[in-house]
């Protein structure tokens, strides 16, 4: 097994995390992703770039996001103390903007004038459209036709921000197909276009680059927990679709062996039903969207449709670094079903007065279970990755309300 230090330094120069990651892409993209890797490595060591990024994260996004001790919830569960890392308080309401800003600034340095993105629930699309509006870049967002229907409010937000939203009608008409279509757009407009991938998937350097932009979450958290409690948390919990908020929280803690890491996948109707989005829990290694990772596939190696109540977790793959963390045993991955997530949504809303995104509710559900098994003196930090406003329609429908 790799040593702790190796773990933090991954991926290797070819973008591999053990057997995972890499560059499984058509030849036309090989040159552009290499150009991107060079730019990313150059600017991530450039003090002027980092200063601009830090200033934007502070004044535009509102960082650092606070850590909140959820005393009511902790009391109710009666176990470990539960803390929230409040990514829901970021501009645009989720962690996605941390990465969108980083990549958009990079695009600008590279002289690209056109931004494209894929989106599932619409959070990454909104974050990208927001940043593109501010930087004066043309923006096109690919979104599965089914998701366009499910997430009308976010589609409208993107349009108000000046982005063109393209509904994708191919395949299963969801996030994976939006990613396919964005890749096709990129291949066709290589010269002026920068593709802002929203999660830690895609070909190298995306999984490493998106992780690095999201790691601000874990860096802040580590310092804040030490300030607040005098020690590191005993466990970190985050939801995992592609896995960008989870890796952003986990990565700065990888060498802190005493901190347990839990990634929570979407169990949908239940992993045993096959209707879920939990490749780490029930998939196997394969190749999708430019990297080798755990995926969901049928008996012929075709990628299969996924299910989750939360569009943001509805993805048949996962970032390759999570696959590596799973196989190396450093992180644990569990699944939380739709109904459990919705229960957690209500419970946290009622006890703490904070409404989580349905994605985040998956992490909260598992955190409550875990807290119950731990001592009161112990602590759990949950990445409160996004706010629930976008899910009002979904929750209302479940309650039988018309909005």
């Amino acid at each position: 097994m790799a040593t702790a230090t190796d773990r933090v330094r991954l991926p290797d120069e070819n973008g591999h995390f053990g057997i995972f990651g890499g560059r499984f892409i058509p030849e036309t993209l090989m040159g552009p992703v290499e150009e991107l890797r060079e730019a990313y490595e150059k600017y991530l060591a450039d003090p002027a770039f980092l200063a601009e990024l830090d200033a934007d994260l502070a004044d535009y996004v509102g960082r650092p996001s606070p850590i909140y001790h959820a005393t009511n919830l902790s009391e109710k569960v009666g176990g470990a103390q539960i803390y929230f890392k409040r990514e829901d308080l970021n501009h645009t309401g989720a962690h996605k903007v941390n990465n969108a800003i980083g990549q958009a600034l990079l695009a600008k340095r590279m002289g690209k004038t056109r931004i494209i993105a894929e989106t599932g629930a619409g959070q990454h699309g909104v974050a990208t459209a927001t940043v593109a509006a501010r930087l004066g870049l043309e923006c096109v967002v690919y979104m599965g036709a089914e998701d366009v229907e499910r997430q009308k409010a976010n589609v409208f937000r993107m349009r108000l921000l000046g982005a063109r939203v393209v509904p994708v009608e191919s395949g299963s008409r969801t996030l994976k197909d939006a990613l396919n279509e964005a890749m096709r757009d990129w291949v066709t407009h290589i010269d002026d276009t920068f593709y802002i991938i929203g999660t830690v998937a895609g070909p190298h350097p995306y999984p490493a680059m998106v992780r690095d932009f999201q790691s601000v979450i874990g860096r802040e958290s580590r310092r804040q927990m030490l300030d607040k409690t005098g020690r590191l948390p005993d466990a970190l919990v985050a939801c995992v679709g592609g896995g960008s908020n989870a890796i952003g929280l986990f990565h700065p803690f990888l060498d802190d062996e005493q901190v347990a890491l839990y990634g929570v996948e979407a169990g949908g109707d239940g992993v045993e039903t096959g209707r879920h989005s939990a490749p780490l829990s029930a998939g196997r290694p394969g190749v999708l969207h430019g990297n080798r990772t755990y995926i969901m596939e049928d008996a012929r190696g075709q990628i299969i449709g996924t299910h989750s109540i939360s569009a943001g977790l509805d993805y048949p793959g996962v970032g390759p670094e999570h696959s590596w963390l799973k196989d190396s045993g450093r992180a644990h991955y569990v699944a939380v079903n739709d109904d459990q997530a919705v229960r957690a949504f209500h419970e946290v809303t009622l006890t703490e007065g904070i409404m989580p995104a349905l994605e985040t509710a998956h992490a909260l559900s598992y955190a409550m279970t875990l807290a119950g098994e731990m001592e009161r003196e112990q602590s759990i930090l949950v990445n409160f990755s996004g706010r629930g406003d976008k899910d009002m329609e979904t929750v209302a429908k479940m309650e039988g309300w018309e909005l």
Partner: protein
């Protein structure tokens, strides 16, 4: 020498470029594929590229995406594709068949099982669109050790250094992607492509096939002037889409298209 090498030798001796049509196996129905292959050979095809259906074909434009979707409705998998090649070989022992597809279904089967099965069925070459040389050493060894050719893409964005890397593992022919884009493009500047192909020839000693965007007999003739092969995909698939319900009309339309291309190429 492989069957692919022999065909290019013959073409060179006859001072003609090869015509290489593509169809997706199982499109529009599994029972049509072998007949389509024979019809294309009868109309002048020198090599056949046979697509293996995949749920997420990121290098393909809308026309070929739909072909994959139609084939997948019939649950056509890699095993089925190999069966089709085996059936084609019962009547045609000469025309090379190149499988073109994406990595995941091959890896699911296992690269060695796939390579043995393909060689046994009579496959001559394999092109895996999302498996560049850096990531496909095992697959490449499996294909090469069974006497088949590993075919790779070169694109307008491929550096000379990478062309060198590709040239060391590529066999049979190099597939030059004529545009920055997906399959089914149009309005290509063939003069610019010819310059790139000249550069490619200086770096790699293999026949060069050009594809992506050859839609008309005029396109095929233009490409035939500077390349060793014209590869035609979406233009064929469009006819399958248009005539899929009427088998005879579909076969006739494809025969007419390819025969027209062949005539235009032979006329120079």
């Amino acid at each position: 020498m492989s069957r692919i090498g022999e065909v290019f030798e013959q073409c060179r001796a006859a001072n003609r470029a090869a015509l290489v049509p593509y169809v997706t196996a199982g499109d529009p129905r599994p029972g049509d594929t072998v007949d389509l292959m024979h019809a294309m050979v009868a109309a002048g095809a020198d090599v056949i590229e046979l697509g293996m259906p995949f749920s997420d074909p990121i290098a393909d434009g809308p026309v070929i995406q739909k072909a994959h979707e139609r084939a997948l409705k019939h649950s056509v998998g890699v095993h089925d594709v190999l069966d089709m090649v085996r059936e084609f070989r019962r009547e045609d022992g000469d025309t090379p068949v190149v499988l073109m597809g994406y990595l995941n279904p091959i890896e699911y089967m296992g690269v060695d099982v796939f390579a043995s099965g393909a060689a046994d069925a009579g496959v001559d070459g394999v092109l895996v669109v999302d498996a560049p040389p850096e990531e496909s050493a095992d697959l490449h060894r499996a294909i090469e050790s069974r006497g088949m050719d590993s075919i790779f893409l070169v694109s307008p964005t491929t550096s000379d250094e990478r062309i060198g890397i590709i040239g060391r593992v590529c066999a049979g022919y190099v597939y030059y992607v004529s545009v920055k884009g997906v399959t089914g493009a149009s309005g290509t500047d063939w003069g610019a492509v010819a310059e790139r192909v000249d550069n490619l020839r200086r770096l790699v000693d293999l026949p060069v096939g050009v594809g992506f965007g050859i839609g008309t007999p005029e396109d095929a003739a233009s490409v035939g002037r500077f390349a060793d092969a014209a590869i035609v995909g979406s233009a064929v698939i469009r006819l399958i889409e248009a005539h899929g319900d009427d088998r005879e009309a579909m076969l006739k339309a494809i025969r007419d298209l390819l025969a027209g291309m062949r005539r235009a190429m032979d006329a120079g």
